[in-house]
């Protein structure tokens, strides 16, 4: 049997993904996380002076919440039910860092924990900065030229 045929066989015989149900769960879990974020943002807006600072503090608090929930195994259960609803919020970003750090700790502190911490978070940071850099550069050049 060719690999393609085998893949087709697997695809035909695996149960169909419950797309609608998955989306509903993602919506619910993601929505709840963002609502918690709104509570944090409202408090941060009162404490901090500028919007940028309030955003920074909110992101940091959500990341802190993500790492704590991951460390105590709660986030894995959330991710199992919520899928993208748990992965897309910034808490999911924190989850990838903490879970990778905990997972690879047994391979050593330097080449395990520290190196593998960014196995998923790294690409996100790299591409975030690259796209931000390019778009900002273009914007500045256009504004300078006009």
């Amino acid at each position: 049997m060719k690999p393609q045929e085998y893949q087709k066989l697997v695809q035909d015989n695996s149960p169909p993904r419950p797309i609608f149900k998955n989306m509903l769960w993602a919506f619910f879990v993601g929505g709840v996380i963002c609502t918690v974020g709104q509570v944090v943002l409202n408090i941060a807006s009162k404490v901090e002076n500028t919007k940028a600072e309030a955003s920074a503090v909110t992101l940091a608090v959500m990341i802190l919440i993500g790492t704590v929930l991951t460390a105590f195994g709660v986030y894995d259960e959330l991710a199992e039910k919520g899928g993208a609803g748990a992965a897309v919020p910034i808490t999911g970003f924190a989850n990838t860092m903490t879970s990778a750090a905990m997972e690879f700790r047994r391979e050593g502190v330097l080449l395990g924990m520290a190196a593998k911490m960014f196995v998923i978070a790294g690409p996100v940071i790299v591409f975030g900065i690259l796209s931000g850099f390019i778009v900002t550069l273009i914007k500045v050049l256009i504004l300078k030229l006009l």
């Binding site: 609803g85 992965a87 910034i90």
Partner: protein, 116 residues
């Protein structure tokens, strides 16, 4: 009211993400990278700010908000410092969260064993 908007908008972004994962070959990592780039670019085009003004944490908490914060930091630092801001600005808003993530991830990794 703003809580309801944050819930609906944040939930909708996550639901669309789930749809992309289920219907295409995208993995979680691809989705996160795509959303970060989208947020950064939309912020550069000036679209993300009004959206975040409306949706609050519903726009900030999904990783798109992380990407948008990178661009926003670059633009504001560019104004303050000149060309150096193009580089230092990346961590202007996100740096606090990133450093916190590194510190706490390390602490938990040293303190706790992964549970299966």
């Amino acid at each position: 009211m703003e809580y309801i908007i944050a819930f609906l908008v944040g939930g909708a972004i996550c639901a669309i993400g789930q749809l992309i994962i289920d219907t295409t070959k995208c993995s979680n990592a691809h989705l996160l990278v795509g959303l970060v780039c989208l947020g950064a670019v939309l912020s550069g085009l000036g679209i993300y700010e009004p959206f975040q003004e409306f949706a609050g944490a519903g726009a900030l908490v999904p990783v798109m908000g992380f990407g948008s914060s990178i661009t926003k930091g670059m633009l504001s630092e560019l104004e303050r410092l000149g060309w150096e801001g193009l580089f230092t600005g990346a961590f202007e808003i996100t740096g606090l969260g990133l450093a916190a993530g590194i510190v706490f991830s390390s602490i938990w990794a040293l303190l706790r064993k992964p549970q299966k």
